[in-house]
Symmetry: C2
Amino acid sequence: LDPQLWHACAGGMVQMPTINSKVYYFPQGHAEHACGHVNFRNCPKVPPLIPCKVVSIKYMADLESDEVYAKLKLVPLSGCGNDDAFDYENDSVVAGGISNGSDNQDKVLSFAKTLTQSDANNGGGFSVPRYCAETIFPRLDYAADPPLQNILAKDVHGETWKFRHIYRGTPRRHLLTTGWSTFVNHKKLLAGDSIVFLRAENGDLCVGIRRAKKGIGGGHEDPSGWNPAGEN
Amino acid sequence: LDPQLWHACAGGMVQMPTINSKVYYFPQGHAEHACGHVNFRNCPKVPPLIPCKVVSIKYMADLESDEVYAKLKLVPLSGCGNDDAFDYENDSVVAGGISNGSDNQDKVLSFAKTLTQSDANNGGGFSVPRYCAETIFPRLDYAADPPLQNILAKDVHGETWKFRHIYRGTPRRHLLTTGWSTFVNHKKLLAGDSIVFLRAENGDLCVGIRRAKKGIGGGHEDPSGWNPAGEN
DNA sequence: TTGTCGGCCGATCGCCGACAA
DNA sequence: TTGTCGGCGATCGGCCGACAA
């Protein structure tokens, strides 16, 4: 999975350390994200935080939901629990290296839009914000009437999706029509979920999705749905 | 899962031992049905057959395919490998007890039909053989024009399916129309698969399915599709 | 600029009797 | 008796511009 697409799907709030950088591993924080309850009582020697070095990073995407996640391999920097051997004041910890996939962002453009009811209704298509159509999508021949093209986009699994991109209506607007509802149904998208379009360095168009936060009070989103992905 | 419905779905060729009856357990035969290869070389002491007593039987149905299977709990009758302690000549082994669910068959009627192309095509409904409609389905009021009724049938999971049963056409024939294609699509039925209707002792109508044999030369079926289930 | 709506057209679903095996 | 077919009417998917936020 392309790290650029991965970061575009994960959103600008997600930062990843670089290989060989130093980080803290928080066992309790990790345990809180486990599926089942993790009981530390039987192993009371677990320290609250463990200085580690990042050995490897695998950018992954769930096969069913397309949601992105990462596997990090961490190696403790000092002997177990011997915190004194580690320099807490060293800024290189945590700040040792951060990558949000935007190192060459001048070349990698991405855009995220939260789906409206009209986008998610199987009654029709997808309203493409002008910014997205003009900066991410392939150039449209505006001499045609109406201007239209077929666009191909690869998802996080490398699967290609085909959409009909048309510029029509009064006033004119960009729309995805044929192919869109197939995508919505197959990915089980609902109003509130987000879609990410990304133009890779090689010119390929990619598409990712970001599920709406479930649970209570999950994340405040800009209600305008204007989320240029990958920006701070 | 009702043993009567289970046997109707399994078909007349399937016989089950009764609880406490004596049977032979064939480890090699069992291994041949395992998903992966079972290697007996590391345990060469496994005898070719082991006399056992049937301790429990659970009638099951696969949650996805509706295919029926059973879990048997067997207890060896003698010390491991000491075959001499067992009376091979005793007819009670294997013949100790057989149940095919037809103990009170005079009350439990069932019928199986192999689906034709016309039945499985989502273009329409299901041609109900007269015998099935008249002996398994609820009585139809032939005074109406055309005679029709809604029938409810429980599948192996206890889920209820609704079908419109109508007697129409020239010449007259029994059909299932509304509700049938929903059932076919949900169960992913194909031409060649079989459907089983069963009238339980309490009068409830039940429906089961029997997938077509895959693989090479799998089972010769009566091409007429006439398979009164549960009969010898 | 773009979200929602009603109109409308074409495709598909599915009910029907005709006909024949 | 029942499997297959063509017809056809109802429903639905989905493309469209109008309109307003």
